[in-house]
Symmetry: C2
């Protein structure tokens, strides 16, 4: 399962539409039936596309999953960059946290399925890692440029922060006892700012 890339680059509009229909259908089917029972035939059926067409845009089942994930990640990045950097550290952190929370309110069940049921191919894992590396670098640069930050090793701190914020996903999307969102946000912000501004 090395290929995660689309097999064919869409050149006509209807092609891109088909691709989108497949992804949308996949999201539905995966949530409804789970990953294993979410067969490619079922996805094609729901998308009103023949199974052959499906395999013209996705080389295998895993690639569909990767496509869904890519959509999600891209949305997150876009949302984050839509807002401009606040000045105060606490506000920056808050933006960070809130963006993460918002981005997972979209379809918690899809996220849950992604985390609990989907087997991650090596390709998917490295894609995730790349994405995470980017975020870490970004946060690190932020920490270094900000005077309030008193942490010794900004690299480790950045990794911690990015990782910690991702816990929010697991607690909100995958959690059965749903934490109150605003409270969670406040507590997260408090913890992270306390950490960043505490003297070593």
């Amino acid at each position: 399962m090395r290929d995660v890339e689309p097999r064919k680059q869409p050149r006509q509009v209807r092609a891109e539409l088909t691709r989108q229909r497949i992804l949308a259908a996949a999201a539905h089917v995966f949530v409804e039936h789970g990953y294993a029972a979410g067969t490619t035939n079922r996805i094609a059926e729901r998308a009103r596309v023949s199974i052959g067409s499906l395999y013209q845009y996705f080389p295998n089942k895993g690639a569909i999953l990767a496509g869904l994930l890519a959509q999600h990640l891209d949305a997150g990045v876009a949302t984050y960059h839509a807002n401009q950097q606040p000045e105060r550290l606490a506000d920056i952190v808050r933006l960070f946290v809130r963006t993460a929370i918002d981005n997972h309110r979209d379809d918690p069940r899809l996220l849950r399925m992604l985390i609990e049921q989907a087997p991650w191919s090596p390709g998917l894992v490295s894609r995730l890692e790349g994405y995470q590396r980017e975020r870490v670098a970004e946060v690190r640069a932020l920490l270094e440029s900000h005077p309030e930050v008193r942490v010794a090793d900004t690299g480790t701190a950045a990794q911690m922060i990015v990782a910690t914020v991702e816990v929010v996903v697991h607690q909100l999307a995958a959690g059965t006892n749903p934490l109150d969102e605003s409270r969670l946000e406040d507590e997260m912000v408090r913890m992270l700012t306390a950490y960043l501004t505490s003297t070593p």
Copy 2:
């Protein structure tokens, strides 16, 4: 896949031994081949046990996974309770963090497989949630009994702490760029204590 419980209670010693052999073999095979390609036949073969015997102790493949997870969780709890409660808050937190780290140094690859590749059945998920609830309750009681703690809602705080510590797993066991362990430990402790002792 509702059944996660063993099909037959071992009544003779050799039975328990067989069960252990199967689990050990499963750990090896799952790590080596991945979950999907880690077939039950392969596990039985490696355990030098017939496939029929395997299915006398585990009703299905998922149950083997659940067995491995249970082993891991139990080991963690045991390790933690082996040490006695320190007095200072920072030390308590450190014990907590270190226990988590130690517990995942055993077999990082197994953990990684568990997180990235294994589909979690509903039964497995609820088992995990139960375990987590226990830990949260424990931590909460701890927070409430400790004078240094200044956090407003101990319930949320406890959830945050337990969840955050579990990030360590993802970063150490599943991470490709392995963070330095002692540094991670220090940073985690700093973050959590800073959070707990900061004024709301």
